[in-house]
Symmetry: none
Subunit: 160 residues, 2 copies
C-alpha cells in the first residue's frame, strides 16, 4: 500500500514536470509546406498545393516575389546548432555569424530569395530562377515592395 | 521517334509521381525563437537569446538586416486559414490573396522586415524600427544584399 502511494506520488511528480515542460514548448511554432519548388524543361516554378490557390489572387500585379522556403536537406539538430561559418564556404572569407550570412545552416532553416515573376497560372508561379533544389519546401510568398525594400546604397562587406 | 515517346512517357511518369507526392505532403517543421523585439526609451532592438550571440559575428559590417519574425498574436488555426484579405484592411483595396500582400494572417505566420542597423552590442541589435509589437518572437536575421535585393523599378499595384 505504501509502495502504491509512493508510485502515485512519483507519477504525479512526473506529470507535473511534463506539464512544466509544456509551458516551455509554447515557444516552438510549427510551419508546413504551402507548395514546392519545381524545375522542369529549363523553367522554375513555385507550385502551390491546390488548397492555397486562393492565396495567389492578384500576385500577378507584382513583378517580383519573395519566396520563403525551408532548407530541407539541413534539418538536423547538428546543422541547426551551427552558428558561425566561412561565407560561401570559402576559408578566405573570415569566420562570420550565420546571422551575418545567407548560409543554409542556421537555428531556423528559413531561406529567403527574391524572384522575378514570369507568369502566374492557376497554382503555378513561374519564376526566373531560385537557388534552391527541385522539390524544396516553400513556406510563404510575399510581394516585393521596392519603396521599402530597395536600398541600392546599403553597405555590405567585400567577400570572395 | 520511339526515343521521344519514351522520354514523354518518362516525363509524364515523373510529373505524375511529383503530383502524388504533393497531395500527400503533411510535413511539419518546427521553428523557435532566437530572440525578441524590444522597444524601450524610444529605441528598438532585436535582443538575441545569449546562446545565439556567436551568430552575430560581423553583422555590424552590414548597414541593413532582414528581421524574420513570427506573428505571435495570430497563431490560431482560424487565422492561419485566411487566404484572402483587403490589403491594409481597407475595403477600397480589392480583395487579394495573402501571398500578394504582407498581411499578418497567412498559413505560416512569418513576418519579414527590412531594418537599418544602428548598432550591434553584444546580443543586442539596435535597429531603426520595426512594424512588430514589443516582445515579438524573432526567428532569424539575414544581412541585406543590395546587389540582389535592390530593384527600384519593381512593379507593384496602386493601393490605398
Amino acid at each position: 500500500m505504501i509502495r502504491l502511494a509512493f508510485l502515485a506520488l512519483l507519477f504525479s511528480f512526473i506529470v507535473t514536470t511534463n506539464a512544466d515542460d509544456k509551458v516551455d514548448d509554447t515557444s516552438v511554432y510549427s510551419v508546413h509546406p504551402i507548395g514546392h519548388v519545381e524545375k522542369y524543361n529549363g523553367k522554375t516554378a513555385v507550385v502551390l498545393d491546390q488548397q492555397y490557390l486562393p492565396g495567389l489572387l492578384r500576385l500577378e500585379d507584382f513583378s517580383h516575389v519573395w519566396v520563403i522556403w525551408w532548407f530541407d536537406q539541413n534539418d538536423t539538430p547538428e546543422m541547426r546548432e551551427i552558428l558561425q561559418v566561412h561565407p560561401r564556404r570559402d576559408s578566405r572569407n573570415p569566420l562570420s555569424g550565420v546571422f551575418a550570412t545567407r548560409a543554409p545552416v542556421r537555428p531556423n532553416l528559413i531561406g529567403l530569395s527574391l524572384c522575378r515573376i514570369m507568369a502566374v497560372n492557376e497554382n503555378i508561379v513561374e519564376i526566373d530562377g531560385i537557388d534552391a533544389f527541385d522539390g524544396t519546401t516553400v513556406l510563404d510568398l510575399k510581394p516585393y515592395i521596392p519603396s521599402m525594400e530597395s536600398i541600392p546604397a546599403a553597405k555590405t562587406p567585400k567577400r570572395l
